[in-house]
Amino acid sequence: MALTPHPDLSSQVPPRTDDAIDDAALERVMREVPSGALALSLLTVGLLLLAWFLMYAFVFLPRGMVG
Protein backbone atom coordinates (compact mmCIF):
# COMPACT_ATOMS: atom_id res chain seq x y z
CA MET A 1 0.00 0.00 0.00
CA ALA A 2 1.25 3.43 -0.84
CA LEU A 3 2.54 5.46 1.99
CA THR A 4 3.37 9.14 2.06
CA PRO A 5 6.21 9.17 4.53
CA HIS A 6 6.28 11.91 7.08
CA PRO A 7 9.80 13.13 7.83
CA ASP A 8 9.39 11.93 11.39
CA LEU A 9 8.20 8.52 10.40
CA SER A 10 11.65 7.00 10.39
CA SER A 11 11.79 7.43 14.12
CA GLN A 12 8.81 5.18 14.41
CA VAL A 13 9.60 2.55 11.85
CA PRO A 14 13.07 2.77 10.46
CA PRO A 15 13.66 0.68 7.35
CA ARG A 16 15.22 -2.50 8.56
CA THR A 17 18.55 -1.78 6.94
CA ASP A 18 19.06 1.41 8.93
CA ASP A 19 19.65 -0.11 12.29
CA ALA A 20 21.21 -3.30 11.05
CA ILE A 21 24.48 -3.51 12.92
CA ASP A 22 27.53 -4.82 11.18
CA ASP A 23 29.84 -6.93 13.28
CA ALA A 24 32.87 -4.77 12.66
CA ALA A 25 31.16 -1.67 13.98
CA LEU A 26 29.87 -3.56 17.01
CA GLU A 27 33.32 -4.94 17.74
CA ARG A 28 34.75 -1.44 17.48
CA VAL A 29 32.33 0.10 19.96
CA MET A 30 32.55 -2.85 22.33
CA ARG A 31 36.15 -1.80 23.02
CA GLU A 32 34.81 1.34 24.72
CA VAL A 33 31.55 0.00 26.16
CA PRO A 34 30.81 0.06 29.07
CA SER A 35 33.06 2.92 30.17
CA GLY A 36 30.28 5.43 29.58
CA ALA A 37 27.68 3.28 31.28
CA LEU A 38 29.97 2.82 34.26
CA ALA A 39 30.55 6.55 34.50
CA LEU A 40 26.84 7.29 34.29
CA SER A 41 25.83 4.57 36.73
CA LEU A 42 28.51 5.48 39.24
CA LEU A 43 27.50 9.11 39.09
CA THR A 44 23.79 8.50 39.54
CA VAL A 45 24.08 5.77 42.12
CA GLY A 46 26.69 7.79 43.99
CA LEU A 47 24.33 10.76 44.09
CA LEU A 48 21.58 8.46 45.28
CA LEU A 49 23.68 7.17 48.15
CA LEU A 50 24.70 10.71 49.01
CA ALA A 51 21.08 11.83 49.06
CA TRP A 52 20.20 8.95 51.35
CA PHE A 53 22.95 9.82 53.80
CA LEU A 54 22.00 13.48 53.77
CA MET A 55 18.44 12.58 54.70
CA TYR A 56 19.71 10.16 57.31
CA ALA A 57 22.09 12.56 58.97
CA PHE A 58 20.25 15.87 58.64
CA VAL A 59 16.58 14.96 58.82
CA PHE A 60 16.17 11.57 60.39
CA LEU A 61 18.66 11.53 63.29
CA PRO A 62 17.83 15.09 64.46
CA ARG A 63 14.15 14.16 64.71
CA GLY A 64 14.98 12.10 67.69
CA MET A 65 14.93 8.67 69.13
CA VAL A 66 11.87 6.44 68.90
CA GLY A 67 11.46 2.82 69.78
Binding site: M1, L3, H6, D8, L9, S11, Q12, V13, P14, P15, R16, D18, D19, I21, A25, L26, V29, M30, E32, V33, P34, S35, G36, A37, L38, A39, L40, S41, T44, V45, L47, L48, A51, W52, M55, Y56, V59, F60, R63, V66, G67
Partner: protein, 548 residues
Protein backbone atom coordinates in the same frame (compact mmCIF):
# COMPACT_ATOMS: atom_id res chain seq x y z
CA UNK B 1 7.53 -11.69 8.58
CA UNK B 2 5.52 -11.06 5.50
CA UNK B 3 1.92 -9.97 5.22
CA UNK B 4 0.03 -11.21 8.21
CA UNK B 5 -3.48 -11.04 9.44
CA UNK B 6 -4.22 -9.91 12.95
CA UNK B 7 -3.86 -13.13 14.89
CA UNK B 8 -5.82 -14.39 17.79
CA UNK B 9 -3.20 -13.35 20.32
CA UNK B 10 -3.20 -9.85 18.88
CA UNK B 11 -6.94 -9.53 19.20
CA UNK B 12 -6.52 -10.66 22.79
CA UNK B 13 -3.83 -8.09 23.36
CA UNK B 14 -5.87 -5.29 21.88
CA UNK B 15 -8.91 -6.19 23.96
CA UNK B 16 -6.92 -6.36 27.19
CA UNK B 17 -4.98 -3.18 26.57
CA UNK B 18 -8.02 -1.14 25.65
CA UNK B 19 -9.71 -2.20 28.87
CA UNK B 20 -6.57 -1.28 30.77
CA UNK B 21 -6.30 2.15 29.21
CA UNK B 22 -10.00 2.93 29.52
CA UNK B 23 -9.79 2.28 33.25
CA UNK B 24 -6.65 4.39 33.33
CA UNK B 25 -8.36 7.37 31.69
CA UNK B 26 -11.25 7.30 34.16
CA UNK B 27 -8.86 7.02 37.09
CA UNK B 28 -6.81 9.97 35.83
CA UNK B 29 -9.90 12.21 35.91
CA UNK B 30 -10.72 11.11 39.45
CA UNK B 31 -7.12 11.65 40.55
CA UNK B 32 -7.13 15.30 39.51
CA UNK B 33 -10.42 15.93 41.28
CA UNK B 34 -9.04 14.37 44.48
CA UNK B 35 -6.07 16.73 44.42
CA UNK B 36 -8.40 19.63 43.85
CA UNK B 37 -10.45 18.53 46.88
CA UNK B 38 -7.33 18.42 49.08
CA UNK B 39 -6.12 21.83 47.94
CA UNK B 40 -7.25 25.13 49.46
CA UNK B 41 -9.35 25.75 46.32
CA UNK B 42 -13.04 24.90 46.65
CA UNK B 43 -13.82 21.72 44.73
CA UNK B 44 -17.25 20.75 43.38
CA UNK B 45 -19.18 17.63 44.42
CA UNK B 46 -16.99 17.25 47.50
CA UNK B 47 -18.39 15.27 50.39
CA UNK B 48 -16.65 12.84 52.70
CA UNK B 49 -18.35 9.97 50.93
CA UNK B 50 -17.72 11.17 47.39
CA UNK B 51 -14.03 11.69 48.14
CA UNK B 52 -13.41 8.23 49.49
CA UNK B 53 -15.56 6.70 46.77
CA UNK B 54 -13.29 8.45 44.30
CA UNK B 55 -10.10 7.34 46.05
CA UNK B 56 -11.36 3.77 46.03
CA UNK B 57 -12.20 3.93 42.32
CA UNK B 58 -8.88 5.60 41.48
CA UNK B 59 -6.89 2.96 43.35
CA UNK B 60 -8.82 0.00 42.02
CA UNK B 61 -8.68 1.24 38.41
CA UNK B 62 -5.01 2.13 38.44
CA UNK B 63 -3.65 -0.62 40.62
CA UNK B 64 -5.85 -3.57 39.74
CA UNK B 65 -7.53 -3.01 36.38
CA UNK B 66 -4.90 -1.05 34.44
CA UNK B 67 -2.06 -3.23 35.66
CA UNK B 68 -3.65 -6.66 35.49
CA UNK B 69 -5.07 -6.16 32.01
CA UNK B 70 -1.84 -4.54 30.81
CA UNK B 71 0.30 -7.39 32.13
CA UNK B 72 -2.02 -10.01 30.68
CA UNK B 73 -2.39 -8.37 27.29
CA UNK B 74 1.32 -7.71 26.94
CA UNK B 75 2.03 -11.28 28.09
CA UNK B 76 -0.11 -12.76 25.31
CA UNK B 77 1.68 -10.55 22.83
CA UNK B 78 5.12 -11.63 24.05
CA UNK B 79 4.14 -15.29 24.15
CA UNK B 80 3.28 -15.17 20.48
CA UNK B 81 5.91 -12.83 19.11
CA UNK B 82 8.94 -13.81 21.19
CA UNK B 83 8.33 -17.55 20.96
CA UNK B 84 7.22 -17.32 17.35
CA UNK B 85 4.40 -19.77 17.99
CA UNK B 86 0.65 -19.39 18.23
CA UNK B 87 -0.69 -18.91 21.72
CA UNK B 88 -1.90 -22.21 23.17
CA UNK B 89 -5.51 -22.52 24.36
CA UNK B 90 -6.74 -19.07 23.33
CA UNK B 91 -10.25 -19.96 24.54
CA UNK B 92 -8.98 -20.05 28.09
CA UNK B 93 -7.36 -16.67 27.54
CA UNK B 94 -10.76 -15.26 26.58
CA UNK B 95 -12.27 -16.90 29.63
CA UNK B 96 -9.72 -15.09 31.78
CA UNK B 97 -10.49 -11.86 29.98
CA UNK B 98 -14.23 -12.12 30.55
CA UNK B 99 -13.76 -13.09 34.18
CA UNK B 100 -11.70 -9.95 34.55
CA UNK B 101 -14.36 -7.86 32.81
CA UNK B 102 -17.18 -9.25 34.92
CA UNK B 103 -15.13 -8.79 38.08
CA UNK B 104 -14.16 -5.22 37.19
CA UNK B 105 -17.74 -4.31 36.36
CA UNK B 106 -19.02 -5.81 39.60
CA UNK B 107 -16.42 -3.89 41.57
CA UNK B 108 -17.13 -0.65 39.72
CA UNK B 109 -20.86 -0.88 40.38
CA UNK B 110 -20.39 -1.41 44.11
CA UNK B 111 -17.89 1.44 44.34
CA UNK B 112 -20.01 3.98 42.51
CA UNK B 113 -23.11 2.91 44.42
CA UNK B 114 -21.22 4.12 47.50
CA UNK B 115 -20.96 0.64 48.99
CA UNK B 116 -17.19 0.28 49.00
CA UNK B 117 -15.52 3.30 50.58
CA UNK B 118 -12.70 1.13 51.93
CA UNK B 119 -10.05 2.22 49.40
CA UNK B 120 -8.22 -0.37 47.34
CA UNK B 121 -6.27 -1.64 50.34
CA UNK B 122 -9.36 -2.59 52.34
CA UNK B 123 -8.75 -1.61 56.02
CA UNK B 124 -10.62 -4.31 57.91
CA UNK B 125 -12.59 -4.31 60.22
CA UNK B 126 -14.23 -1.86 57.81
CA UNK B 127 -15.93 -4.02 55.20
CA UNK B 128 -17.56 -3.10 51.91
CA UNK B 129 -20.26 -4.87 49.98
CA UNK B 130 -19.16 -8.49 49.42
CA UNK B 131 -19.51 -7.97 45.67
CA UNK B 132 -16.66 -5.47 45.79
CA UNK B 133 -14.30 -8.19 46.97
CA UNK B 134 -15.82 -10.93 44.82
CA UNK B 135 -15.30 -8.73 41.77
CA UNK B 136 -11.64 -8.33 42.66
CA UNK B 137 -11.31 -12.06 43.23
CA UNK B 138 -12.71 -12.67 39.74
CA UNK B 139 -10.08 -10.35 38.27
CA UNK B 140 -7.41 -12.31 40.11
CA UNK B 141 -8.82 -15.65 39.00
CA UNK B 142 -8.76 -14.38 35.42
CA UNK B 143 -5.12 -13.47 35.87
CA UNK B 144 -4.37 -16.92 37.26
CA UNK B 145 -5.59 -18.36 33.97
CA UNK B 146 -3.12 -16.05 32.28
CA UNK B 147 -0.34 -17.35 34.57
CA UNK B 148 -1.18 -20.91 33.61
CA UNK B 149 -1.17 -20.06 29.91
CA UNK B 150 2.19 -18.33 30.16
CA UNK B 151 3.74 -21.33 31.90
CA UNK B 152 2.11 -23.64 29.39
CA UNK B 153 3.42 -21.63 26.44
CA UNK B 154 6.95 -21.67 27.82
CA UNK B 155 6.94 -25.38 28.57
CA UNK B 156 5.50 -26.05 25.13
CA UNK B 157 8.33 -24.09 23.58
CA UNK B 158 10.90 -25.96 25.63
CA UNK B 159 9.50 -29.31 24.63
CA UNK B 160 9.58 -28.35 20.97
CA UNK B 161 13.06 -26.82 21.19
CA UNK B 162 15.15 -28.84 23.61
CA UNK B 163 18.31 -27.08 24.71
CA UNK B 164 17.27 -23.76 23.16
CA UNK B 165 17.14 -20.88 25.67
CA UNK B 166 13.69 -19.41 26.23
CA UNK B 167 13.84 -15.89 24.74
CA UNK B 168 14.45 -13.29 27.44
CA UNK B 169 11.14 -11.49 26.90
CA UNK B 170 9.23 -14.70 27.50
CA UNK B 171 11.46 -15.79 30.36
CA UNK B 172 10.73 -12.49 32.07
CA UNK B 173 7.00 -12.73 31.36
CA UNK B 174 6.89 -16.18 32.92
CA UNK B 175 8.92 -14.87 35.88
CA UNK B 176 6.12 -12.37 36.36
CA UNK B 177 3.47 -15.09 36.11
CA UNK B 178 5.26 -17.18 38.74
CA UNK B 179 5.72 -14.10 40.90
CA UNK B 180 2.03 -13.29 40.61
CA UNK B 181 0.96 -16.80 41.65
CA UNK B 182 3.05 -16.47 44.81
CA UNK B 183 1.92 -12.90 45.38
CA UNK B 184 -1.80 -13.47 45.29
CA UNK B 185 -1.71 -16.17 47.97
CA UNK B 186 -1.66 -13.60 50.78
CA UNK B 187 -4.55 -11.43 49.63
CA UNK B 188 -6.55 -14.46 48.51
CA UNK B 189 -6.27 -15.92 52.01
CA UNK B 190 -7.27 -12.58 53.55
CA UNK B 191 -10.28 -12.15 51.28
CA UNK B 192 -11.53 -15.72 51.28
CA UNK B 193 -11.06 -16.58 54.94
CA UNK B 194 -11.51 -13.22 56.64
CA UNK B 195 -13.04 -10.37 54.70
CA UNK B 196 -15.63 -11.95 52.43
CA UNK B 197 -17.18 -13.99 55.28
CA UNK B 198 -17.30 -10.79 57.34
CA UNK B 199 -18.80 -8.82 54.46
CA UNK B 200 -21.55 -11.39 54.03
CA UNK B 201 -22.29 -11.25 57.75
CA UNK B 202 -21.20 -14.84 58.40
CA UNK B 203 -18.59 -13.42 60.76
CA UNK B 204 -19.11 -10.48 63.06
CA UNK B 205 -15.44 -10.00 63.91
CA UNK B 206 -12.07 -10.14 62.22
CA UNK B 207 -8.45 -10.59 63.37
CA UNK B 208 -7.00 -7.34 62.07
CA UNK B 209 -3.36 -8.14 62.85
CA UNK B 210 -3.58 -11.30 60.80
CA UNK B 211 -5.36 -9.65 57.91
CA UNK B 212 -2.79 -6.87 57.74
CA UNK B 213 0.02 -9.42 57.77
CA UNK B 214 -1.59 -11.46 55.00
CA UNK B 215 -2.14 -8.34 52.94
CA UNK B 216 1.47 -7.29 53.43
CA UNK B 217 2.48 -10.61 51.83
CA UNK B 218 0.81 -9.36 48.66
CA UNK B 219 1.35 -5.68 49.07
CA UNK B 220 4.93 -5.36 47.98
CA UNK B 221 5.27 -8.15 45.46
CA UNK B 222 2.20 -6.87 43.63
CA UNK B 223 4.16 -3.72 42.86
CA UNK B 224 6.75 -5.83 41.05
CA UNK B 225 3.98 -7.57 39.13
CA UNK B 226 3.00 -4.13 37.86
CA UNK B 227 6.63 -3.14 37.31
CA UNK B 228 7.96 -6.09 35.33
CA UNK B 229 6.46 -5.10 31.95
CA UNK B 230 8.49 -1.91 32.24
CA UNK B 231 11.64 -3.93 32.89
CA UNK B 232 10.82 -6.29 30.02
CA UNK B 233 10.68 -3.21 27.82
CA UNK B 234 14.00 -1.93 29.23
CA UNK B 235 15.78 -5.18 28.47
CA UNK B 236 14.16 -6.41 25.32
CA UNK B 237 12.75 -3.38 23.54
CA UNK B 238 14.68 -0.23 24.44
CA UNK B 239 18.10 -1.42 23.16
CA UNK B 240 16.53 -2.36 19.81
CA UNK B 241 14.59 0.88 19.59
CA UNK B 242 17.82 2.81 20.19
CA UNK B 243 19.57 0.85 17.46
CA UNK B 244 21.85 -1.13 19.76
CA UNK B 245 22.20 -4.47 21.42
CA UNK B 246 21.42 -5.79 24.86
CA UNK B 247 24.68 -5.73 26.80
CA UNK B 248 24.09 -8.99 28.66
CA UNK B 249 21.29 -11.51 28.28
CA UNK B 250 22.46 -13.37 31.39
CA UNK B 251 22.09 -10.28 33.58
CA UNK B 252 18.60 -9.82 32.23
CA UNK B 253 17.65 -13.31 33.34
CA UNK B 254 19.29 -12.81 36.72
CA UNK B 255 17.48 -9.54 37.24
CA UNK B 256 14.08 -11.10 36.74
CA UNK B 257 15.03 -14.00 39.00
CA UNK B 258 16.12 -11.57 41.71
CA UNK B 259 12.80 -9.76 41.43
CA UNK B 260 11.01 -13.06 41.89
CA UNK B 261 13.02 -13.95 44.98
CA UNK B 262 13.31 -10.63 46.74
CA UNK B 263 9.94 -9.06 46.10
CA UNK B 264 8.11 -11.67 48.17
CA UNK B 265 9.64 -12.03 51.67
CA UNK B 266 9.71 -8.26 52.14
CA UNK B 267 6.11 -7.10 52.51
CA UNK B 268 6.47 -6.46 56.22
CA UNK B 269 8.28 -3.21 55.49
CA UNK B 270 4.75 -1.91 54.94
CA UNK B 271 4.08 -2.88 58.57
CA UNK B 272 7.14 -1.24 60.14
CA UNK B 273 4.88 1.03 62.18
CA UNK B 274 2.42 -1.73 63.12
CA UNK B 275 2.40 -2.92 66.73
CA UNK B 276 1.50 -6.53 65.96
CA UNK B 277 4.80 -7.49 64.36
CA UNK B 278 8.11 -7.71 66.17
CA UNK B 279 11.22 -5.70 65.48
CA UNK B 280 13.28 -8.82 64.73
CA UNK B 281 11.06 -9.99 61.89
CA UNK B 282 10.80 -6.43 60.66
CA UNK B 283 14.60 -6.36 60.52
CA UNK B 284 14.73 -9.69 58.71
CA UNK B 285 12.36 -8.49 56.03
CA UNK B 286 14.13 -5.15 55.81
CA UNK B 287 17.36 -6.97 54.85
CA UNK B 288 15.60 -8.62 51.95
CA UNK B 289 13.95 -5.35 51.03
CA UNK B 290 17.35 -3.71 50.81
CA UNK B 291 18.33 -6.40 48.32
CA UNK B 292 15.37 -5.57 46.09
CA UNK B 293 17.45 -2.53 45.19
CA UNK B 294 19.98 -4.91 43.64
CA UNK B 295 18.08 -5.95 40.49
CA UNK B 296 17.17 -2.32 39.85
CA UNK B 297 20.74 -1.13 40.24
CA UNK B 298 21.93 -3.98 38.00
CA UNK B 299 19.38 -2.88 35.43
CA UNK B 300 20.58 0.70 35.58
CA UNK B 301 24.04 -0.46 34.56
CA UNK B 302 23.06 -3.09 32.00
CA UNK B 303 20.60 -0.84 30.21
CA UNK B 304 23.01 2.10 30.30
CA UNK B 305 25.61 -0.15 28.67
CA UNK B 306 23.09 -1.36 26.08
CA UNK B 307 22.15 2.21 25.20
CA UNK B 308 25.82 3.14 25.19
CA UNK B 309 26.33 0.59 22.42
CA UNK B 310 23.62 2.31 20.42
CA UNK B 311 24.99 5.78 21.15
CA UNK B 312 28.51 4.86 20.15
CA UNK B 313 27.31 3.12 16.99
CA UNK B 314 25.67 6.43 16.14
CA UNK B 315 28.94 8.27 16.62
CA UNK B 316 28.79 9.25 20.29
CA UNK B 317 32.17 9.76 21.91
CA UNK B 318 33.63 10.07 25.41
CA UNK B 319 32.15 9.20 28.76
CA UNK B 320 28.85 10.97 28.22
CA UNK B 321 28.79 11.89 24.52
CA UNK B 322 26.92 8.68 23.66
CA UNK B 323 23.92 9.94 25.60
CA UNK B 324 23.44 12.91 23.30
CA UNK B 325 23.90 10.66 20.26
CA UNK B 326 20.93 8.44 21.18
CA UNK B 327 17.81 8.70 18.99
CA UNK B 328 15.72 10.52 21.57
CA UNK B 329 13.06 11.25 18.98
CA UNK B 330 11.92 7.61 19.19
CA UNK B 331 9.22 7.24 21.83
CA UNK B 332 10.65 4.06 23.34
CA UNK B 333 14.07 5.64 23.86
CA UNK B 334 12.61 8.86 25.21
CA UNK B 335 10.33 6.98 27.60
CA UNK B 336 13.23 4.83 28.83
CA UNK B 337 15.27 7.92 29.63
CA UNK B 338 12.38 9.54 31.49
CA UNK B 339 11.58 6.30 33.27
CA UNK B 340 15.11 6.07 34.67
CA UNK B 341 15.07 9.71 35.68
CA UNK B 342 11.88 9.20 37.69
CA UNK B 343 13.26 5.95 39.04
CA UNK B 344 16.12 7.87 40.60
CA UNK B 345 13.77 9.99 42.69
CA UNK B 346 11.22 7.28 43.32
CA UNK B 347 13.82 4.67 44.15
CA UNK B 348 15.66 7.09 46.41
CA UNK B 349 12.43 7.69 48.30
CA UNK B 350 11.94 3.95 48.47
CA UNK B 351 15.38 3.43 50.01
CA UNK B 352 14.29 5.75 52.82
CA UNK B 353 10.92 4.07 53.27
CA UNK B 354 12.49 0.67 53.68
CA UNK B 355 15.12 1.78 56.20
CA UNK B 356 13.66 0.23 59.36
CA UNK B 357 13.33 2.93 62.04
CA UNK B 358 13.81 5.64 59.42
CA UNK B 359 10.40 4.75 58.05
CA UNK B 360 8.93 6.53 61.08
CA UNK B 361 9.95 9.84 59.50
CA UNK B 362 7.67 9.34 56.49
CA UNK B 363 5.21 6.54 57.18
CA UNK B 364 1.71 7.36 55.92
CA UNK B 365 2.71 10.82 54.79
CA UNK B 366 2.50 12.28 51.31
CA UNK B 367 6.12 11.21 50.92
CA UNK B 368 4.94 7.63 50.42
CA UNK B 369 2.23 8.72 48.01
CA UNK B 370 4.89 10.59 46.07
CA UNK B 371 7.18 7.57 46.10
CA UNK B 372 4.74 5.16 44.54
CA UNK B 373 3.29 7.65 42.13
CA UNK B 374 6.80 8.28 40.84
CA UNK B 375 7.72 4.61 40.57
CA UNK B 376 4.42 3.23 39.41
CA UNK B 377 2.69 6.22 37.84
CA UNK B 378 6.01 7.50 36.52
CA UNK B 379 8.52 4.82 35.65
CA UNK B 380 6.09 1.98 35.06
CA UNK B 381 3.18 3.71 33.39
CA UNK B 382 5.40 5.72 31.06
CA UNK B 383 6.82 2.40 29.89
CA UNK B 384 3.28 1.08 29.45
CA UNK B 385 2.80 4.04 27.09
CA UNK B 386 6.02 3.24 25.24
CA UNK B 387 5.08 -0.42 24.95
CA UNK B 388 1.68 0.55 23.57
CA UNK B 389 3.27 2.87 21.00
CA UNK B 390 5.73 0.14 20.04
CA UNK B 391 3.28 -2.70 19.62
CA UNK B 392 0.19 -0.84 18.38
CA UNK B 393 1.47 -0.71 14.78
CA UNK B 394 1.83 -4.47 14.79
CA UNK B 395 -1.54 -4.93 16.46
CA UNK B 396 -3.40 -2.78 13.96
CA UNK B 397 -1.05 -2.95 10.95
CA UNK B 398 -1.39 0.81 10.90
CA UNK B 399 0.72 3.83 11.67
CA UNK B 400 -0.21 7.34 12.63
CA UNK B 401 1.31 10.00 10.43
CA UNK B 402 3.57 11.42 13.09
CA UNK B 403 4.99 10.34 16.43
CA UNK B 404 5.21 13.99 17.40
CA UNK B 405 2.08 13.79 19.51
CA UNK B 406 3.45 10.65 21.14
CA UNK B 407 6.56 12.53 22.20
CA UNK B 408 4.48 15.43 23.44
CA UNK B 409 2.35 13.02 25.44
CA UNK B 410 5.41 11.43 27.06
CA UNK B 411 6.87 14.82 27.91
CA UNK B 412 3.62 15.96 29.46
CA UNK B 413 3.45 12.82 31.56
CA UNK B 414 7.04 13.20 32.71
CA UNK B 415 6.73 16.88 33.58
CA UNK B 416 3.34 16.43 35.20
CA UNK B 417 4.60 13.59 37.36
CA UNK B 418 7.63 15.55 38.55
CA UNK B 419 5.60 18.68 39.26
CA UNK B 420 3.04 16.67 41.17
CA UNK B 421 5.30 14.44 43.26
CA UNK B 422 8.24 16.67 44.22
CA UNK B 423 5.99 18.89 46.38
CA UNK B 424 4.46 15.76 47.88
CA UNK B 425 7.89 14.61 49.04
CA UNK B 426 8.46 17.95 50.72
CA UNK B 427 4.99 18.04 52.28
CA UNK B 428 5.40 14.49 53.53
CA UNK B 429 8.54 15.45 55.38
CA UNK B 430 6.60 18.35 56.90
CA UNK B 431 4.11 15.80 58.19
CA UNK B 432 1.30 16.08 55.64
CA UNK B 433 -0.60 12.86 56.13
CA UNK B 434 -2.30 10.59 53.66
CA UNK B 435 -5.83 9.58 52.69
CA UNK B 436 -7.45 12.85 53.64
CA UNK B 437 -10.30 14.54 51.82
CA UNK B 438 -9.83 18.05 53.20
CA UNK B 439 -7.18 19.80 55.20
CA UNK B 440 -7.75 22.40 57.87
CA UNK B 441 -6.17 25.35 56.09
CA UNK B 442 -7.13 27.64 58.97
CA UNK B 443 -4.28 26.02 60.93
CA UNK B 444 -1.22 28.21 60.33
CA UNK B 445 1.13 25.25 59.75
CA UNK B 446 -1.20 23.62 57.24
CA UNK B 447 -1.90 26.97 55.58
CA UNK B 448 1.81 27.06 54.71
CA UNK B 449 1.40 23.80 52.82
CA UNK B 450 -1.38 25.24 50.66
CA UNK B 451 0.74 26.72 47.85
CA UNK B 452 2.63 23.46 47.43
CA UNK B 453 -0.61 21.51 47.26
CA UNK B 454 -1.72 23.84 44.48
CA UNK B 455 1.57 23.29 42.62
CA UNK B 456 1.00 19.55 42.75
CA UNK B 457 -2.56 20.08 41.53
CA UNK B 458 -1.09 21.81 38.48
CA UNK B 459 1.06 18.72 37.96
CA UNK B 460 -2.08 16.63 38.15
CA UNK B 461 -3.79 18.71 35.50
CA UNK B 462 -0.79 18.23 33.20
CA UNK B 463 -1.02 14.49 33.84
CA UNK B 464 -4.68 14.47 32.93
CA UNK B 465 -3.93 16.26 29.68
CA UNK B 466 -1.28 13.66 28.94
CA UNK B 467 -3.61 10.77 29.79
CA UNK B 468 -6.28 12.04 27.42
CA UNK B 469 -3.71 12.68 24.70
CA UNK B 470 -2.50 9.10 25.13
CA UNK B 471 -5.95 7.71 24.44
CA UNK B 472 -6.25 10.08 21.47
CA UNK B 473 -2.90 8.86 20.12
CA UNK B 474 -3.95 5.23 20.33
CA UNK B 475 -7.21 6.03 18.56
CA UNK B 476 -5.15 7.63 15.78
CA UNK B 477 -3.62 4.22 15.03
CA UNK B 478 -7.01 2.76 14.33
CA UNK B 479 -8.02 5.49 11.93
CA UNK B 480 -4.64 5.85 10.25
CA UNK B 481 -3.94 4.58 6.75
CA UNK B 482 -2.74 1.01 6.66
CA UNK B 483 0.90 0.25 6.04
CA UNK B 484 2.57 -2.84 4.69
CA UNK B 485 3.31 -5.23 7.48
CA UNK B 486 6.82 -5.99 6.23
CA UNK B 487 7.84 -2.48 7.14
CA UNK B 488 7.43 -3.32 10.80
CA UNK B 489 10.77 -4.04 12.28
CA UNK B 490 11.25 -6.68 14.95
CA UNK B 491 10.85 -5.13 18.35
CA UNK B 492 13.01 -7.40 20.49
CA UNK B 493 16.67 -6.65 21.01
CA UNK B 494 19.44 -9.10 20.32
CA UNK B 495 22.14 -9.49 22.92
CA UNK B 496 25.73 -8.66 22.08
CA UNK B 497 26.31 -12.35 22.57
CA UNK B 498 23.00 -14.09 22.02
CA UNK B 499 22.83 -17.06 24.38
CA UNK B 500 23.30 -20.44 22.74
CA UNK B 501 22.77 -22.53 25.80
CA UNK B 502 21.96 -21.52 29.34
CA UNK B 503 21.92 -23.51 32.56
CA UNK B 504 18.56 -24.80 33.66
CA UNK B 505 18.62 -22.25 36.47
CA UNK B 506 18.45 -19.46 33.90
CA UNK B 507 15.94 -21.20 31.69
CA UNK B 508 13.25 -22.11 34.23
CA UNK B 509 12.02 -21.51 37.74
CA UNK B 510 12.17 -24.80 39.63
CA UNK B 511 15.24 -23.88 41.71
CA UNK B 512 13.95 -20.37 42.39
CA UNK B 513 10.56 -21.56 43.54
CA UNK B 514 12.26 -23.75 46.14
CA UNK B 515 14.30 -20.80 47.38
CA UNK B 516 11.26 -18.55 47.49
CA UNK B 517 9.50 -21.16 49.60
CA UNK B 518 12.43 -21.32 52.02
CA UNK B 519 12.51 -17.53 52.34
CA UNK B 520 8.76 -17.21 52.74
CA UNK B 521 8.71 -19.78 55.52
CA UNK B 522 11.53 -17.93 57.28
CA UNK B 523 10.00 -14.49 56.78
CA UNK B 524 6.29 -15.17 57.24
CA UNK B 525 6.09 -18.50 59.05
CA UNK B 526 6.16 -17.32 62.64
CA UNK B 527 4.72 -13.83 61.98
CA UNK B 528 1.54 -15.52 60.70
CA UNK B 529 1.58 -18.41 63.16
CA UNK B 530 1.83 -16.03 66.13
CA UNK B 531 -1.77 -14.88 65.69
CA UNK B 532 -2.94 -18.42 66.35
CA UNK B 533 -0.50 -18.83 69.24
CA UNK B 534 -1.30 -15.62 71.10
CA UNK B 535 -5.02 -15.87 70.29
CA UNK B 536 -5.19 -12.24 69.26
CA UNK B 537 -8.43 -10.41 70.14
CA UNK B 538 -10.64 -9.70 67.16
CA UNK B 539 -12.40 -6.47 66.22
CA UNK B 540 -16.11 -6.11 65.49
CA UNK B 541 -16.84 -5.67 61.77
CA UNK B 542 -17.85 -2.16 60.67
CA UNK B 543 -19.84 -2.36 57.44
CA UNK B 544 -19.84 0.54 55.00
CA UNK B 545 -22.61 -0.82 52.80
CA UNK B 546 -25.65 0.17 54.82
CA UNK B 547 -26.07 -0.33 58.54
CA UNK B 548 -27.25 -3.74 59.50
Amino acid sequence: MGERAVTHARRLTLAHLWVAFAAFAVAAVLGVWQMWARSPLPAPYLTAESYFTSVTAHGVSMAYVLTTFMVMGFGYYVAETALGRPLPLPRFAWLGFWLGIIGSAMTAVTIFAGNATVLFTFYPPLTASPFFYIGLVLVVVGSWIWCGLMLWAMLDFKRANPGVPVPLAMFATVANAVLWLWTTVGVAAELLFQIIPAAFGWNESVDVGLSRTLFSWTLHAIVYFWLLPAYIAFYTMAPQAAGGRLYSDTMGRLTFILFLIYSLPVGMHHLFMDPQQSSAFKFLQMSFTALVAAPTLLTVFTISASLEIAGRLRGGKGYFGWIAALPWERPMVLATGMAFFMLWFGGGGGLINMSFGMNAMVHNTSWVTAHFHLIFGGTVVIMYFAIAYAIWPTLTNRLPMSPRLQRLQLWLWFIGMMVMTLPWHYLGLQGQWRRVATFNYSDPIIAGWGPWVIVSLVGGIILLASALLFVWNLLQFHSARAVVATDLRPIYALAVHPPERVPAALNGFALWNVLVLVLMVAAYGYPIAQFFIIDAPEAIVHRVNGRG
